[in-house]
């Protein structure tokens, strides 16, 4: 089941959210970065993952049963002005594998953990993807 299928539950989830204690809205407050991120992305479709600049077949493969799946990554571009210093994201095929597994797990489990990739668990400024 892809992530897209979860949109059928949005109305029910929004109704439950309205019953939560009222939090601090950012509409008129600080944290303009978060507001800008939401405004740029919310309901804008999947153009982020489709705006591919490069497709490079990876040199490693993973065996799945008797079949060997090629793994590739793409480079997607953020909407203009979303971040001041970050314009691109390297989209690994693992991201979609993790997403698929998380969607499946959400039907029966309370928690899903993604780990292993160098840089996970670090501040963004210390990420291995930063230019040094």
């Amino acid at each position: 089941m892809p992530l897209d299928d979860l949109t059928v539950h949005v109305d029910e989830q929004e109704k439950a959210i309205r019953e939560l204690p009222k939090g601090t809205s950012f509409e008129d407050g600080p944290y303009t970065t978060w507001k800008r991120i939401r405004a740029s992305l919310w309901g804008a479709g999947l153009h982020i993952s489709e705006r591919t600049q490069h497709v490079v077949e990876r040199d490693n493969t993973i065996p799945v049963g008797a079949v060997t799946l090629p793994k590739e990554h793409t480079v997607a571009t953020f909407p203009e002005g979303l971040f001041s210093k970050i314009s691109n994201i390297l989209v690994r095929s693992e991201y979609f594998e993790a997403e698929r597994e998380a969607v499946l797990s959400s039907e029966s489990l309370n928690m899903f953990v993604v780990s292993g990739q160098p840089g996970v668990g670090l501040f963004l400024s210390f990420s291995t993807a930063r230019r040094i």
Partner: protein, 124 residues
Amino acid sequence: MRRLALGLPTVYQSTSEYALLFNGSGVTKLERLGDRMSYLAVEKLKNRIWALIDLNPALPKPSPLFAYQSPFFVVNAMSPHSEHSDLVTTASPRMFYMTPWSISEVLQAYVDLTSRGPQHSHFL
């Protein structure tokens, strides 16, 4: 980001002080992260709202609201270091390990960075 692009209500936390709720109404700061009773409305949902928890040195473990038997479906991104072993043993989550960076990915990032100049100094 894909969840926001799809218009899916999503909680995100990267610091112990608060979490952010992105939904159709905008962005809201959630502060009662130790009080589960305040979140009974979302606990009743059959299809739970996802909470994406970015564990890092400023958030070494999930807040109580996003720990064991959370009213949300919790997705933790964390390093495989031993300080997180308690989380794994108590919550028994499903684990997904990503492979290390391949040489082609490293080269891709290098090429992209060098072609964009110093004003674009980061690449996620």
